[in-house]
């Protein structure tokens, strides 16, 4: 029997030392790793790399709190904890509430969802909409980078082999209108076929900010500040005249590899519906 190293650190400091020395991969909720390396009934999963079980570090990595620079979400926070925390911005709460099923929402973690970097992962999409940063720690210190820069592509991240994802920081974002929609095949345990979030910030009839973020429509979540700028600064009654230009710019950044017509058309329809609603003077939403 080949010996695969498995560590169970008792503190974050110990986990960081193990990460540095053995490059052990953190195993948190297990909803990705335990499934990927499933061997069968009665058989322990076998990992081709050293792992460390970090699910017991939630005292250090499981808190959600508001600070001066934004909302800090510990890497071990579960979708249920995120969905029920009112300090978390609406699209992230909404995405968390629609992940998997109740039991999965008690085990999966935000750190794992980002670290796994699946193009269909549910949390990176709204986090990227909000310019959230991932906090990475090693024994040598801490660095932060935007989630959008951290996720390089399908299942690829900028995580160094001595680093652990310790949390997420979502900066304060002003928005009067939010949109979030996930298209899945069923209400529970649905892997996203397509997802979209968007926001408007409208002040005195002028679009002060507009953003969109497309999930499961390419190897990674897509945003385009250039496309978003097409609508920013417009008066609400000018928006419909520019919507077509925006939609075609947005379409050009999508690169779905399967069912591209469906994904492009559905993205267009969702964006159009939201933009028309706001442009026609919809009242700011209540996102409690």
């Amino acid at each position: 029997m080949d010996e695969v190293k498995c560590f169970i650190p008792k503190s974050l400091d110990e986990a960081l030392r193990i990460r540095k020395e053995f490059h052990a991969k953190p195993l948190a909720g297990g909803s990705d790793l335990m499934v990927s390396y499933y061997k069968g009934i009665g058989i322990a999963p076998v990992f081709p790399f050293p792992v460390m079980i970090i699910s017991n570090l939630s005292d250090e990595l499981g808190t959600i709190r508001k600070e001066d620079d934004g909302v800090h979400i510990g890497a071990l926070s579960t979708p249920n904890e995120i969905a029920s925390s009112m300090v978390v911005p609406y699209p992230v709460r909404k995405a968390a509430s629609l992940m998997g099923a109740p039991s999965l929402r008690n085990t999966a973690t935000i750190g794992g969802n980002i670290g796994n970097a699946s193009p269909k992962g549910d949390l990176p999409q709204p986090l990227i909409l909000l310019d959230a940063e991932v906090v990475l720690r090693s024994v040598d210190g801490e660095r932060r980078m935007k989630v959008d820069d951290f996720i390089l592509g399908s299942k690829k991240t900028a995580l160094a082999d001595d680093e652990i994802i310790t949390g997420i920081v979502i900066p304060e974002v002003k928005a009067t209108h939010y949109f979030y929609h996930k298209i899945g095949m069923r209400r529970a345990n649905a892997i996203s076929k397509l997802s979209l979030s968007a926001l408007f910030d409208v002040e005195d009839g002028v679009v002060v900010d507009f953003r969109a973020s497309s999930g499961a429509a390419g190897p990674k979540v897509r945003r385009s500040r250039d496309a978003e700028e097409i609508l920013i600064g417009l008066k609400l009654d000018e928006v419909s005249g520019k919507t077509g230009e925006f939609l075609s710019a947005w379409n050009s950044i999508l690169s779905p590899h399967a069912m591209p017509e469906y994904r492009r058309a559905s993205t267009r329809r969702m964006l159009l519906g939201f933009i028309e609603e706001v442009a026609s003077g919809a009242l700011p939403g209540n996102y409690e």
Partner: protein
């Protein structure tokens, strides 16, 4: 590489010594004889292996035993000894909720977690609470009705 994992199983302190990557479902069934914990999909989606970990519903097929150190685990074998468990089991039997029975331990545990936090659930809330528990026999309606029956009969049990 053996690990020593201590946890509470249905109210009793237990110690597991062995590979910490073994799945909780296997350890519960094979080492502790908790055969009410079923394995269906092995991917955390069907809910047959549901157990309650520190008050929360989880699927034991995706949890390595190394992550339950210090936790309290309850399986159907523990729940059936409690008044709430008896109430649910009787309601499931009387309501005709059980056909092959494979999903039922997980269904009952999911129902218990629901009624503990929400003693008067609507039908939608019940369907959401059991949305991670797949049943291939019943079409769910009799299960939903049985959970409503348990909520009604158990009134004071769920609000205490």
């Amino acid at each position: 590489m053996d690990a020593e994992i201590r946890f509470t199983l249905n109210g009793k302190s237990v110690i597991f010594i062995g590979n910490p990557l073994r799945r909780l479902v296997d350890v519960l069934r094979e080492d502790f004889g908790m055969l009410g914990v079923k394995e269906g999909c092995g991917e955390g989606e069907c809910g047959a292996c549901s157990v309650i970990k520190d008050g929360k519903l989880v699927t034991s097929c995706i949890i390595p035993v190394g992550s339950v150190d210090g936790s309290e685990i309850m399986t159907i074998e523990g729940l059936r000894e409690k008044e709430e468990g008896k109430c649910l089991i009787d309601a499931f039997a009387d309501g005709g909720a059980v056909q092959c029975g494979f999903c039922i331990p997980g269904m009952v545990l999911a129902s218990y977690v629901l009624l503990r936090s929400n003693p008067h659930p609507t039908e939608d809330e019940i369907r959401l609470a059991i949305s991670g528990n797949i049943c291939r026999c019943t079409g769910y309606d009799l299960i939903v009705e049985s959970i409503m029956l348990a909520a009604k009969r158990g009134e004071e049990l769920w609000t205490k």
